[in-house]
Symmetry: C2
DNA sequence: TTGTAGGCGTTATCAA
DNA sequence: TTGATAACGCCTACAA
């Protein structure tokens, strides 16, 4: 039969991949039996003896399943692709991804993270390399990118939008007002990767100021990769004595402002009050911030993702995940 | 026939995948021609007219390549899997991954990142879900895991080990001694994800101290997720008046120590000198540190990875990527 | 309880 | 210049 010839050819070509056929031959059973055994398929009462033999043979031969073959046959892969813009990953999104992987691992999926940048490589090119069951977008996608995902038959879940960033900005202002501040500075990050979130948070800050009759915040753009921009921002705020507090886009920026203040011999909140967002570990000594209840948020996101993945249902992410954590900087 | 049933079922499930066959039929050419055109295969002079028609048809029908089919046929995927332990990603490794993806994108590969934790899911289980051309290990792997990668036919590159962490620890001590310190504290992180790097850095610190005739550093374990451990560490060091400087595992820890000092009304370097490692952005105001020349390092790692991937050659990562950056904390 | 057979989408070989 | 055809490794309806 051609079968033997084929396998000889294969061996000659040096492609020493151990297949189900190899295992079947070595253990004297059929390929189907091997498949049933290795996949623990129910309802095919295979004798314990055969089953054990197949497993042993597979192990001895060093069989490793070949994902593409499996995916081709099933018509889908079990990969959930998390698309992250410019690796704008931080403490919070990392924790989400971990929770997601834990939950999906139980159901036979794997979470893979890809840093994308549409100008560097259009999303469409990606599908020749990986065909995920679902895309979890951790940042904004362009319209063509979104439809490319649809064309590829992958489901799409937008992680962006499940946290009320504007609300976090509002909470910053509310707290500062409560502390007696009336005129505030705002540290806005220039990084394009943070753009969408930054806009939302700042929008909340502006609205809250307006609604409370405060003047618009004095915005300074800061680049976390360039400390000079932080120092400059601090100097600008200091030139305006009416500004008694600064709200920062996130804790990382807030910490940098704090360092800049130290460099100028200033101390929060005496010289300038300071509030961040995120409650990252390094902020947890002394920085007042707005925290996300990551466990609750992640649980909710995971629930929605599973519903979409397994039942094609759209379950909204709901809940109030934000809370104020007062520390010594305000 | 079962065939029809399956296809009906598939259609019912809504999976309308457009295949080369569909394109071929719609444009009146063979599947082979479609494949040649869509993959720009040289040496098959296909008329410009046919070529354009095929491309247009593919676009009109909304064809998206199906990666598993491609990978099955070719016997390998073009995925490079970066395995990261517990998402111990930080500024430095993120930059490396980006450089890697840029370089590999040009050659038709994609970099996907997976957080692994061997106790949660053995690596062997991964291969049924993704079969990468290469694994880039960003942290230590167990011996069984390494051989699992080999069995799976994936190449393995160990990113861990390409930076001389012990040397960084030595440089911390050397600088502190130069500044006149003789007795130092050391902040050692408890996080298991950092374990390997932490051990190496600390080993360098201990050796340098010994070689310079200093007493062993006073080590305090700190958990970045638990600020209380940092405060406690600071208090311990302060109980030993001979300790005038603290070396931290990395900048994040150093910054937390700095915050703890501020909370106690202490200032670096007056009350305690402080030095970190990594030169992360938020350290760049005021923290003395040991920086990695990320661009040079990444370029070297990328070179090695490409050599392994394309020519199966082992090119070592060489170069001196570390430098001292003196700021105001020492 | 096990085996047979056929096909998933793609590409390489060979023939026309 | 183009087309038929045979695999790649795996899964599963159906037959035995």
């Amino acid at each position: 039969m051609g079968t033997d010839d084929e396998q000889t050819a294969q061996r000659v070509r040096g492609s020493h991949r151990v297949t189900h056929a190899d295992i079947a031959r070595a253990s004297g059973v059929s390929r189907a039996t091997v498949s049933y055994v290795l996949n623990n398929v129910e309802g095919h009462a295979i004798s314990e003896k055969t089953s054990a033999l197949v497993r042993k043979t597979a192990k001895d031969l060093g069989h490793v399943p070949f994902a593409p073959a499996r995916s081709l046959r099933l018509g889908r892969s079990n990969i959930v692709l998390a698309l992250v813009k410019d690796f704008s990953l931080g403490y919070v999104s990392n924790r989400l991804l971990r929770a997601l992987d834990v939950a999906l691992a139980e159901r036979g999926y794997v979470v893979l993270v890809h840093e994308f940048n549409e100008s560097r490589r259009p999303l469409a090119e990606l599908w020749g390399l990986v065909s995920p069951a679902m895309v979890a977008a951790m940042g904004g996608l362009s319209v063509p990118s979104e439809s490319a995902i649809d064309d590829a038959g992958s489901k799409l879940f937008r992680v962006h939008g499940t946290i009320p960033h504007a609300q976090a900005g509002r909470m910053q202002v509310a707290h500062l007002v409560e502390r007696g501040h009336r005129s505030i500075g705002y540290a806005f990050p220039t990084s394009p990767a943070l753009r969408l979130v930054a806009d939302e948070r700042f929008e909340g800050v502006k609205l809250e100021c307006a609604e409370r009759g405060l003047p618009d915040p004095l915005v300074c753009e800061v680049d976390t990769d360039d400390p000079a921009t932080i120092i400059r921002a601090l100097d600008v705020w200091r030139e305006h004595p009416e500004i008694t507090a600064v709200a920062a886009h996130n804790d990382e920026v807030a910490i940098m402002v704090q360092s800049a203040m130290a460099a100028r011999g200033l101390v929060a909140p005496r010289d300038l009050a300071l509030i961040g967002i995120d409650n990252i570990p390094s902020a947890r000594i002394g920085l007042t911030t707005i925290a996300t209840d990551i466990d609750a948020w992640a649980a909710s996101v995971v629930r929605s993702i599973l519903a979409l993945l397994e039942d094609d249902e759209e379950v909204p992410v709901t809940g109030d995940f934000l809370s104020l954590i007062v520390r010594s900087s305000t």
